[in-house]
Symmetry: C2
Subunit: 162 residues, 2 copies
């Protein structure tokens, strides 16, 4: 899996990932692993945003992507998110990649690769798995150094405290 080079993303995509990074920072301030996500509607406006809240909510499904998809469906009044794009600071896991397909998203753009658990190009790819009956376009690597730095700092702090 080769991440898309940084220069291939446009200014609007760069800005949308900036909002996702802001959500990631808020998540870590609350004690959760810093991952953030935003959903842009068909017109390019932000319709939903969330950070990872697994610890805050004690909910095993409260990954940033799942919460952002649910919030986008509430905002748009439909579980079908055709025309929408999800930006997430870390490559989605299997659960979240499959949720993106269920939601009928147009596109997923992720930041840092997850070589251990990423199911959108790294260890697998459910965004374009024919067994799911539908594919979601994706690119990875947007603002990856910033997304990775947040994660590294969070885990370094945990180690220092532990």
């Amino acid at each position: 899996m080769e991440p898309t080079p940084e220069w291939a993303f446009d200014a609007a995509e760069h800005a949308a990932m900036g909002e996702a990074l802001e959500e990631a920072r808020r998540a870590s301030a609350a004690g959760d692993v810093p991952v953030g996500a935003v959903v842009l509607g068909p017109d390019g406006a932000v319709v939903a945003r969330s950070g990872n809240r697994r610890e805050a909510d004690q909910d095993p499904t409260a990954h940033a992507e799942l919460l952002a998809l649910r919030a986008a469906s509430r905002a748009l009044g439909s579980w079908r998110l055709d025309g929408c794009t999800l930006f997430v600071t870390l490559e989605p896991c299997a659960m979240c990649a499959a949720a993106c397909v269920h939601a009928r998203l147009d596109r997923v753009i992720w930041g840092a690769p997850d070589p251990k658990a990423g199911f959108a190009g790294s260890v697998g790819n459910l965004l374009e798995d024919p067994r799911l009956g539908r594919r979601v376009a994706w690119r990875g690597g947007l603002r990856a150094p910033e997304a990775s730095a947040l994660l590294e700092r969070f885990f370094a702090n945990l180690r220092d405290r532990g």
Copy 2:
């Protein structure tokens, strides 16, 4: 994938699936595809139950399993559901199978196989995929004829109306 034969399930498992079937019936009465789930705690008591609510809630992630896992975490005060068992009337999809692994469930017992989208033995198996770093024990086929009949009746009604 060979379903476990009916005689290999005990009376308590048969009864737990009966409660999941009750949730499935409620889901179809509300216009959702009839799938139901219950979570039993380490002591064997029901801690959470839900039907599929994708249409009712307009939420692409509102599958019965995901809602039951979230409700179980709320009931037990933790995202870690060690010692718990999920009963679901239909073989879980990729999203729900991965969620079961994230939740650290002990076991998943499903009813009817899903030859098109089932990721717990049929088209794939994320419950025992080494890439997820953890495995969840599972058996399938418990009260499958009842679970399938509910689904067949629901889709036959849709066709008659359509």
